[in-house]
């Protein structure tokens, strides 16, 4: 690699500089302010009380018995949505990889949820579909004589997961579909002539071919899913109890409900640590598979 750049012999610094410097600023300025605030007693609603807080903000945060369950929820939300979008995405992509009548239009319908604002999706799902009295699902359950599901009461986290998975399924689907279309048609044809059914073809030919694509989906989705906020805000506001509170929502509660800038900054520092741990663990192993 090093040899390659010396052979080319151009100065890459000026090309990289704008992007790198901007992102450095974007990271360092808020980070520095967050770190600074995290050691301050600073509540916007109570400007009279200011001053150095030492490790107080961290002490209150780490002593909070809900912190661990909230971290678990954060990770569960990411993993569950990944599992759903990858599981369904690969199967649906395999289904769409062959030619069929109206495939372009059907594919368009598959992609559509990706264009919709998260707030709108959450509002539509919450009200028109998952409402336990007037919602569409409740009507279907009643029509079939089944008990009505109280979505955000009985299975709140799963409900949020389903909404987010619906939003991100198109992304996974598209990447898998593009990857499958690069697969050699003859290979599948040969397998078919050997008597392999569609299920065997999926597991032994198509799925192995999707390794890189799955890595990409895991990496890109993780980045966005760690920050899931709007869907929770609109549907459950983190509850009931703390059943759907993830780390961004906890920070929101501290920063914009309590206006406790000190406490929120301490939680923000934890989030930054978590992000970097995730980046180190997950993204790095995956990036290696993508031989960056």
């Amino acid at each position: 690699m090093a040899r390659a750049s010396s052979r080319a012999g151009i100065a890459t610094a000026p090309l990289l500089a704008p992007a790198v410097l901007l992102l450095l600023l974007w990271m360092i300025v808020p980070l520095a302010m967050t770190l600074w605030f995290s050691f301050q007693r600073y509540n916007l609603l109570n400007p009279a009380v200011r001053g150095f807080a030492g490790f107080n903000n961290y002490r209150f945060l780490l002593r909070d018995p809900t912190l661990v369950p909230i971290l678990v929820t954060t990770v569960v939300l990411v993993l569950a949505v990944l599992a759903l979008t990858i599981g369904l995405g690969t199967v649906f992509a395999a289904l769409f990889a062959r030619e069929f009548r109206g495939r372009n239009i059907a594919r368009l319908l598959m992609v559509t949820p990706f264009f919709v604002m998260p707030t709108v999706s959450a509002l539509v799902w919450k009200n028109l579909f998952m409402h336990p009295v007037n919602g569409f699902f409740a009507a279907i359950s009643r029509g079939l004589g089944l008990p009505v599901i109280d979505w955000f009461g009985a299975i709140p986290l799963l409900s949020v997961i389903l909404i987010v998975a619906w939003e991100w399924l198109p992304f996974a689907f598209l990447i898998f579909l593009t990857a499958l279309q690069s697969l050699d048609e003859e290979q599948i044809e040969a397998a078919r002539l050997d008597g392999a059914g569609p299920i065997a073809i999926f597991f032994f030919i198509q799925l192995p071919h999707l390794g890189r694509a799955i890595s990409v989906v895991v990496m890109m989705e993780t980045i966005f899913l760690l920050g899931i906020f709007a869907e929770i805000y609109v549907t459950t506001a983190g509850g009931p109890g703390i059943a759907t509170t993830n780390l961004p929502f906890l920070i929101y509660q501290r920063a914009l409900l309590a206006f406790n800038v000190g406490g929120a900054s301490a939680a923000g520092v934890i989030a930054i640590v978590l992000a970097n741990v995730m980046a180190a663990l997950l993204v790095r192993t995956i990036a290696r598979r993508l031989d960056v």
């Binding site: 609603l45 009985a154 509850g239 509660q253």
Partner: protein
């Protein structure tokens, strides 16, 4: 800054060149998307015509609005000239000098016409900091037809034990008819507004005289257990996501036999275009359990001017216009008297047209006048406010406790556990804020 000023200068020069009145300004108003405010937005064109000023409307749902204006005022962002805030924020912000005092309103405005209790709720240190747009208390809505059919009679002052009996009788799950609808959606202004009145009337309080939280006391246990038990037996499914709005929808589509909530819902439930039960709804006082104190709440949505506003004169002119007697008459004339902004002015309640159109008027007035912000609980407390505690930290405290109560409602945790956690978290917040050493 300078760039914006320059832009502003350009804008005003253009406006001047276009020969509009010399004293013309553009004001930005942040408001909540409640029906009364939406009507104000529609009628404000009259004021724009009269004065030559222009209004930029920022209409947001309640939670977003609250977060938005709080961010702006605490950081002195200066993006708004008029804020829609409640009786909770007004005294707190007034004390910080974040609002422009409104002591110099013209005589024609007739400040004395505003109910004294409402004026008091919007004042701090002897200054009026906001003018009320509408005010509300809480009472009990019920379905006359269902009560008659079941041979039940709603007393003028119901007890919670009676409410429980009624609810048990009137629940018919097979027909999606629920004996009682109550708030369950977490939030200090949602489930905790109702639950605080319930705790009050069960004899409980948020804090003792030294700001020690009292959430693990028998009164809280009794109140919350009663609520959870009642809602599980007779409440609608998904009650933990029902706030004012969701319950309004349920009641107006005929799913609830009783509903204890804001008096402002009366105007909406009597409106035939919005409500399928307009001719079947009746109302009575909010129930009491052990003590009468704080069994019904007080709230006012009010308009205030942040001290960062650069258009104070124009903003004041709009405040005075939109909360005046003339405005009330204008709404009555344009939209019908049933929906005029309630609860603020004695003159509204002296108007025969209003009394004729709004059968609930006298009841609402009594509820508002008897809501005592200074003595919200049976035992002494260091705070004011009935369904809230007028300290800056309460938004966070209330919402956090609200989440735990919703957890108890759905059965994710027991009432004991929820109250134990609530007590611990409130205590931590109060320690961090320096109330308890």
């Amino acid at each position: 800054m300078t760039f914006r000023r320059l832009l502003g200068l350009c804008a005003s020069l253009t406006a001047f060149a276009m020969a509009s009145p010399a004293w013309s300004a553009t004001i930005t108003i942040a408001t909540v998307n409640n029906s009364d405010m939406i009507r104000m937005q529609q009628l404000s064109k009259e004021w724009e015509k009269e004065t030559g000023n222009k209004i930029n409307w920022v209409v947001l749902e309640e939670n977003v609005l609250r977060q938005r204006v709080t961010t702006d005022i605490t950081t002195k962002g200066g993006q708004f000239d008029i804020l829609t805030i409640g009786s909770y924020e007004t005294p707190i912000w007034g004390k910080q000098n974040w609002l422009v005092p409104l002591d110099d309103l013209p005589p024609s405005y007739d400040v004395k016409d505003i109910f004294p209790s409402v004026r008091q709720a919007l004042s701090a240190n002897g200054h009026l900091y906001a003018v009320p747009f509408y005010a509300e208390s809480s009472f009990t809505f019920y379905r006359k037809d269902l009560f008659d059919k079941a041979g039940l009679k709603m007393p003028a002052q119901p007890k919670y034990e009676e409410v429980k009996t009624f609810a048990d009788r009137l629940t018919d799950r097979a027909h999606e008819q629920y004996g009682i609808c109550l708030r369950g959606k977490p939030g200090w202004g949602e489930n905790m507004a109702y639950l605080t009145t319930l705790v009050n009337t069960f004899g409980g309080r948020w804090f003792d005289e030294h700001w020690n939280p009292q959430l693990d006391t028998p009164a809280w246990h009794a109140a919350i257990s009663f609520y959870v038990d009642l809602m599980r037996r007779d409440g609608p499914p998904g009650a933990n996501s029902n706030g004012f709005n969701e319950n309004l929808a349920l009641f107006s589509t005929g799913h609830c036999a009783m509903w204890i909530d804001a008096t402002v819902a009366a105007g909406l439930l009597y409106d035939k275009s919005q409500s399928q039960v307009a001719d079947k709804v009746a109302f009575t006082a909010a129930p009491i359990a052990k003590v009468p104190n704080g069994s019904h709440w007080f709230w006012a949505w009010a308009l205030a001017i942040p001290s960062t506003s650069k258009n104070v004169a124009a903003a004041k002119s709009f405040l005075a216009w939109s909360t005046s007697k003339d405005y009330v008459a204008l709404v009555g004339k344009t939209f019908g008297w049933t929906v005029v902004p309630p609860g603020t002015r004695a003159s509204t309640y002296a108007n025969p047209e209003y009394l004729k159109a709004a059968p609930f008027a006298e009841f609402v007035k009594q509820a508002i006048l008897t809501a005592d912000l200074e003595h919200p609980t049976a035992e002494k407390v260091p705070y004011t406010g009935i369904q809230y505690v007028a300290i800056p930290e309460f938004q966070a405290i209330g919402t956090q406790v609200g989440q735990l109560m919703a957890g108890a409602l759905t059965g994710q945790m027991s009432v004991d556990e929820a109250l134990k956690q609530a007590q611990a978290s409130v205590k931590a917040t109060m320690e961090q804020a320096g109330y308890i050493q």
